[in-house]
Symmetry: C2
Subunit: 325 residues, 2 copies
């Protein structure tokens, strides 16, 4: 490790990623295409996915420059999905700023997303070692992310779903991309398929935990600490892990309580739901689901022989689970 302190190390990797994103030679014209792309990349992303690629790859002494190409590709892919998802979900803000379709319009945002995706492929094509494996891993993950988004749209349209469907959806939508970020670290380091599969599993389980935590934070976090407007899931009456557990535990009571909640203004509704989720142990169950995924993630790390690197990836996982409460 370059720095003794874990947080500093993560911050270092994040800044290096930002620098690399700035170094991408993105044209000026047409401005209506590249302007929005630059706007997205200048947004305040946490760069968790490239950081993950670096941490995994460094555990196997991969070339940092190669890891950066892979990390940048994953970050660009992530941003592509955000831009398109925001259009589909009609989310007006992202990372504390207007989303692309809000600042411009839908066609501009569709095209900016497409452009980010192409830039991701070009970044990935710069890898010198294991390129073909990397491209397959990357695009299989991209396809799975699309599947997850399709399921999410189906669920948002009111499909009656169970917890297992929801977990499948977040595994696809969030897990597969973090899984890809982990696996690419191994591919760039020329690790065998079995090792890469474990690294993918680490990222995927981390993604599941991350997404469950996201649902929890939507209701329970301090509004100032989240870029996304707090309670937007509640406002849009989106199904979350909390509402699904509530429904499974006591469908009749949940129907009654959620109808009651809908009559309240957003602030009171949040407080009402928080209280209900806590009182009925629903929050606890959601926390447990996140922890289970986290334990699975930790188990997958046994392919990393160096203890210091393993600990680092455990710390990274903990950082994600304990973020911004």
């Amino acid at each position: 490790m370059d720095t003794p302190d874990f947080t500093e190390h993560i911050e270092f990797l994040r800044k290096e990623t930002d620098k690399a994103l700035n170094r991408l030679s993105i044209s000026q014209n047409p401005e209506s295409f590249y302007g929005p792309i630059k706007y997205v990349l200048n947004g305040k992303g946490k760069r968790l996915r490239p950081v993950l690629t670096h941490l995994v790859g460094r555990a196997f002494q991969a070339d940092p420059e190669e890891l950066m190409h892979a990390g940048i590709a994953v970050e660009l892919l992530h941003n592509f999905t955000l831009v398109h998802d925001d259009i589909m979900d009609r989310d007006d803000t992202r990372h504390g700023q207007d989303s692309v379709h809000t600042k411009w319009n839908d066609p501009t945002a569709i095209l900016a997303g497409d452009g980010l995706f192409v830039l991701a492929q070009l970044a990935l094509g710069r890898i010198k070692s294991g390129t073909v494996r990397a491209i397959r891993c990357f695009n299989e993950a991209a396809l799975t992310v699309c599947e997850g988004q399709a399921m999410d749209l189906e669920f948002a349209a009111g499909t009656d779903i169970r917890i297992m469907h929801y977990l499948e959806m977040i595994e696809k939508k969030t897990g597969s991309l973090l899984g890809c970020a982990g696996e690419l670290g191994g591919i760039v380091a020329n690790q065998d398929e079995k090792t890469c599969a474990s690294l993918q599993s680490y990222g995927r389980q981390l993604g599941i935990a991350f997404q469950i935590q996201d649902d929890i934070l939507e209701i329970f976090s301090d509004p100032k600490s989240m870029g996304k407007s707090l309670g937007s899931d509640v406002l849009s009456e989106k199904q979350t892990i909390l509402s699904l557990i509530a429904k499974k535990d006591n469908a009749a009571e949940w129907e009654e309580k959620s109808a009651e909640a809908k009559k309240l203004n957003i602030q009171d509704r949040l407080l009402f739901l928080r209280k209900y989720y806590e009182k009925r142990g629903i929050r606890l169950k959601a926390d447990l689901l996140a922890e289970t995924a986290m334990n699975e993630a930790h188990k997958s790390l046994n392919v990393i022989l160096s203890e210091s690197h393993r600990v680092e990836l455990e710390e990274f996982a903990t950082m994600i689970l304990n973020r911004k409460k």
Copy 2:
């Protein structure tokens, strides 16, 4: 050549492409994602781009299976752009059937387009020879297509443009993808960079001619022979090569005539514009522009030493220029 007759040969390649598209193992679920993708691929595309890849590659004895991967990738990329462009341009029909956002909705169409793009990358990743070169060529073309679409959107929003801007736009939007189709034929056949650049130029110039011809056919063709609703450019008052030449030749008269045209119903407007474009030699000038691009395309074919294959590609170009009048 497998068949003595050129038309039969093209038809053979087209059918083989359709078969290969049908063989793509596309999942069933989620249906909301893969259903629309299959709907697009079952549409009546002419498969001109994969046919081009095959014709070029066969001139250099490339492996037909490898060519098919490349051709399928280009066709999928093409369909991705059509699905997204149709949303942006609010085009309701495509190849004689409802476009995806019309049959379903915008989010479904955004996601279907994204999926087609990912499938394109996966198809390309199946090439065994020259994969890295192919991926760069392919994604650079994809980026250029996006640039072209952005310019097209700018122009549609009423930006005052000149013929040279328009030609740049169609070179990017249509030329670069046909250019890529040609170049991939060379890359798969392991040809050097200079040869591949010529093959790209052939496709690019062909694309320019194709697009100019498209503008002309929009006004002058028999409505039954075009899948796209005839006169949609006229209805949407889109700038075309014909309107730009008219404006350049006599801006004052064109302003007057186009104002006059707008007062007519669509049928009369088409007849009125046809007459004007013919009387003032505007159609002739557009034809000449298409022919110039076609001559450039022919010149680029000098890298193909086998006369029979060169003739075949010349015939292909002619077929495109003379289509469906």
